[in-house]
Symmetry: C2
Subunit: 382 residues, 2 copies
């Protein structure tokens, strides 16, 4: 594909938003990105969203955002791959530009989950699992991750408390991010004492149901807006079975591995070249599995990386540098775009107190379902 | 964009399906298209669907179809623009191929609407309207179209019975299509006597809630499979306000006009070059508005084209040649792909008793919402 550049970014704070609706959040992020790029209205709009139709009774949310933002008579659509919807929308915008159909495009990832009762959101999240083989039997999405975590602990001999450093690191980084939902540091003690959700997953293993929106302007050309140019050097998406029972080995995210390998090949890079890895820490078990699948450690070794402090922002392989899904928050369809926005800030040297040192290449990995739809991107500072 | 070719097609009968689930319908259509192309598994999958998450409790339906069809470790996603979702997915696949990211792609449009109670489907369909400005006030989707029809009758002086020829033509053509939902001819008398749904729209003005799936294989190269090659020479999508109240003139589909004009410009054609127009006759009022917006007659003149018989398969501007949404049926996310499959059959001379005579260029126009998301394609027989 032809090279595509990130030329504008925007994000709202992740929160439980009572004063802004879904379209207002998405509109705020979109307008920030448009203003940041300073090139006027782009040629088209790609929206990543999972559950507007259930949580907000609104289909064609892509069209609505074109309407709300004043994009009339331009193309717009919504892309959905559950929790990786944001990155999938970004990937479609890349192709629209690389194909020559557009020169510039706006990508918005947005979700507003807190207007609905918890039981409805639990039901909506469960639609990311296989309806016939999993959800219809009462398995919730956190339940699926609990099965994965239990199996992982059994297979590799880790204890529950061994996962604490993923969450402690995420909260420590989020403390410096004004857009993060949870800016309070947590300790090993608060981690172990937090309430059980779905054994062995407790409250501090899990990312919060949240509202938020992030946005990016992509362009076929770099622009001069005083920021360091950032380009997309790899975009790879892979699928796996929706249901855990059909995977060869549940605790190995094969599609994530294939997606990362393809991305490395596209960029001509290896894991050691990556200075920042924004991973999909929806649950702490996913942190371990994503690090392993992306080649940063051997299978079963994820928790060791965390225990040894290697995932800290100033260490070997920084992750969740602005709080990750765990502490920045996880408005599902927005998450992939938040990851890309945060990676862009790191590559531009604008990440503040958690700025990473090696900031030439950043990788993002966004996961839909329990490892069934993976979207990996590698960004480069020019 | 680089030229892209349609090299395989598949479709299931449109029906009230009790023996096949959503994924089985979509799988059947997908496998037919794969077999028709004869080039093995394509590089990626694009699914057009509107309401799997509400009607079938299944999100990431694109991923599920990759799983069901055995596409593991290939990219897949779902695209949503309400009733134009199928054409939007097709358009994304075009860009994926034109960008060089893929050489071949499978597009599936699928919807299964009849498993849910009618009230739930009415609510799901209303999500295509503006939630805050329309649906929240109790306006259903048929109600919106009724407002449009009443205004059109007021503005141009047509009576309700003047719309009958759109539906009579659709049913007459559907009689020859084994995949059509309603193969019974209707008369002016049965049209006028059919039960009122939302004044002035009666039962025979409206397309039926249905189940069905259609599929297409796209390729960067034409292939030799004994069928006439068909290429995509225009793809144009435009949006308008979701809510009717914000349009300059409700009974003029400005985005449809802009989309058609862009498509003509891309292909270097004018309306008189088009030998077949598969339009979006979800309601008979939409038939009139779509014909006018696409430049086949002046505003307010749509019903006259129908009354004069010019929309018949063997006349000036054949429409709904295999029954259209009205009689073939309207499984919403699938409809755009059905239109493209039917246009392909016409261009290949394989349309049977309703084969059109001028079959070098065919245009399809798929409408999401009450004219808010329009996707127009022009296909050419090589």
């Amino acid at each position: 594909m032809n090279k595509v550049f990130i030329v504008g970014i925007g994000q709202t704070p992740v929160s439980e938003s009572w004063d802004k609706s879904l379209k207002e959040l998405a509109g705020d992020a979109g307008l920030m990105a448009i203003e940041d790029a300073g090139i006027g209205y782009p040629d088209g709009l790609f929206v990543g969203n999972m559950m507007a139709i259930t949580a907000n009774h609104q289909a064609q949310f892509g069209t609505l955002m074109a309407d709300w933002l004043g994009f009339h008579h331009k193309p717009a659509l919504a892309v959905e791959t559950a929790c990786s919807s944001g990155s999938s929308a970004f990937r479609m915008a890349l192709m629209a530009i690389a194909s020559g159909e557009m020169e510039t495009a706006l990508v918005i990832g947005a979700e507003k989950m807190t207007d609905s009762p918890g039981s409805e959101i639990t039901a909506s999240l469960a639609t990311a699992a296989d309806a016939e083989l999993e959800a219809d039997f009462g398995l919730s999405f956190v339940g699926l991750n609990a099965l994965l975590m239990r199996r992982y602990m059994h297979e590799y001999g880790w204890k529950h408390e061994d996962f604490s450093d993923f969450s402690i690191n995420a909260h420590a980084n989020a403390a410096h991010n004004p857009n993060a939902r949870f800016r309070n540091p947590i300790t090993r003690d608060s981690f172990t004492r937090s309430p059980m959700i779905s054994d062995p997953i407790n409250l501090l293993d899990a990312s919060p149901v949240s509202d938020g929106a992030a946005a990016i302007i992509l362009s076929s050309r770099p622009i001069q807006n005083g920021r360091k140019p950032v380009s997309v050097v790899a975009s790879a998406s892979m699928t796996d079975t929706l249901s855990l029972q059909h995977r060869e080995k549940a605790v190995h995210l094969k599609a994530a591995e294939a997606s990362a390998k393809t991305a490395y090949a596209q960029a001509g890079l290896s894991p050691s070249d990556i200075g920042l890895f924004e991973y999909h820490d929806a649950f702490s078990i996913m942190s371990a599995l994503s690090l392993e699948a992306a080649g940063f450690c051997a299978p079963g070794e994820g928790p060791r990386l965390a225990k040894e402090g290697k995932i800290k922002f100033n260490s070997d392989i920084p992750v969740a540098t602005m709080g990750g899904l765990k502490a920045r928050g996880h408005p599902v369809g927005a998450t992939g775009v938040y990851q890309l926005v945060e990676a862009t800030l790191q590559l531009q040297g604008l990440a503040g107190p958690t700025q990473v040192k090696r900031n030439r290449y950043a990788m993002t990995q966004n996961i839909g379902g329990s490892g069934s739809n993976i979207v990996t991107h590698i960004l480069q500072s020019e």
